[in-house]
């Protein structure tokens, strides 16, 4: 035990407490609040573990968008009807988890433990080979920041599919608002009447978020940041603008909205197809243009991520079906 471990231990303890509370707090609203706080602690841990990309993403998502989502849920749902929120299989599940944890601990402490079996043994020949290759290939990727290089070049296929994940979730959300059926239980925010302070603050905050988002996007090729972080900040801006009523409903009937929702995936897929037809193969960027291609993909992706995420968080009947 060294003094340097003190902040880590504090964070760990905090995280466990929050996790416990987020699961078992007697009031559901408390559980939700603790879950949001959990996100903040996780962001701190990412920063401790030298993962600034993740800390940025987690802060925008875990504390921002998830917060709005959960608050929305807390308002829309009545309090739990029954106090016993645990199932009948409680004891069985408890037993299972205790056994699982014990087995895990035994593995941990036993001689042939998790840590001795190669996971943390960086001196053996078991160091990540993929990682070594990735480090070596960064200069050829068209961007300087290794995480961006992995995301948009080496493993671009994953990122393309990830954009589709966002899109499919939105496609699922649209099913919850069958066309022609008006949503009477108005979930559009019924804010306190005097909104002057809030909307004044939003007028300051939203441009700030947009500027920061743009900066993160631009910076992504050489430093932590990138399409996803930028997209989630822009989504946050859109969400607060929409909630304060400064932004009109994003209507699905508008071609521009639909275009910006599919732009990221469509452009990425088009690049993939074009490189397969005219180039060297599916997603093989031509060397000289790879930087340019990556930036343009990122711009379209940011737009799509921002719009899709904000629709996922606050999209209602009038946004999604009109």
């Amino acid at each position: 035990m060294t003094p340097e471990l003190l902040p880590d231990l504090t964070l760990s303890l905090l995280l466990l407490i929050m996790a416990w509370g987020a699961l078992y707090a007697p009031q559901r609203s408390d559980a939700m609040t603790l879950f949001i706080a959990f996100g903040v602690v996780v962001a701190l841990i990412w920063a401790r573990l030298d993962a600034p990309d993740l800390a940025l993403a987690e802060a925008a998502i875990g504390a921002g968008l998830t917060g709005v989502l959960l608050m929305h849920a807390a308002r829309a749902l009545p309090d739990e009807l029954h106090q016993d929120y645990r199932t009948a299989s409680y004891w069985g599940a408890l037993g299972f988890t205790v056994v699982a944890s014990l087995m895990f601990l035994v593995h941990l402490l036993y001689d042939d433990s998790l840590f001795n079996a190669g996971l943390l043994d960086t001196e053996s020949d078991l160091t990540p080979r993929l990682r070594t290759l990735a480090d070596a290939a960064v200069p050829e990727s068209g961007v300087e920041h290794p995480v961006t290089a992995v995301l948009l070049n080496f493993r671009a296929w994953d990122t393309l599919l990830e954009l589709l994940v966002l899109l499919f979730a939105l496609g699922g959300l649209r099913q919850l608002f069958p066309s022609g059926q008006s949503d009477d239980s108005a979930t559009t925010a019924s804010w306190p009447e005097s909104m002057t302070l809030m909307s004044a603050w939003t007028r300051v905050l939203a441009p700030l978020l947009v500027v920061t988002g743009g900066y993160l996007l631009w910076r992504g090729s050489s430093a932590p940041g990138g399409a996803f972080q930028a997209g989630s900040l822009l989504a946050a801006a859109a969400v607060i603008l929409r909630l304060t009523g400064l932004l009109p409903p994003l209507r699905w009937s508008s071609l521009w909205l639909r275009l910006s929702v599919v732009a990221g995936a469509l452009f990425f897929l088009a690049v993939a197809a074009a490189t397969a037809i005219w180039g060297d193969g599916w997603l093989t960027y031509p060397g000289a243009y790879s930087g340019l291609l990556i930036i343009s993909i990122e711009i379209f992706a940011t737009l799509s991520i921002a719009i899709t995420l904000s629709l996922l968080v606050i999209g209602e009947q009038e946004d999604l079906r009109s």
Binding site: W191, P192, E193, L197, M198, W201, V204, L205, L208
Partner: protein, 112 residues
Amino acid sequence: MINTITDVLGWSFMLAGSAFFVTAALGLLRFPDLYSRLHAVTKTDTLGLGLLALGLALLDPSWRSCLILLLVWMLVMASGAVNCQLLARFNLEQEEGRHGGDGHQTGESDDA
């Protein structure tokens, strides 16, 4: 010599800031209703964070970090104020709805 003075000052500011956070937490736990809790949290948070930022700026006195710390403090202060007001008003309206328009605990609601 300068270094030690700024160090001592910086650390003491940070300690003071932390003390404010502790009192805020105490207030959050001990105060009876939402308004006094909000009062405890926002006021002390604003001041506590300011002291922490000041202390940190003294410990790392480059222009860049000072500017960033100032920005952080101002953003948190502004959003804290707005949030406090929103929460208080929301609660007030709900109470008015419940008690038939007779809000009776309005004392602290506009302290932001």
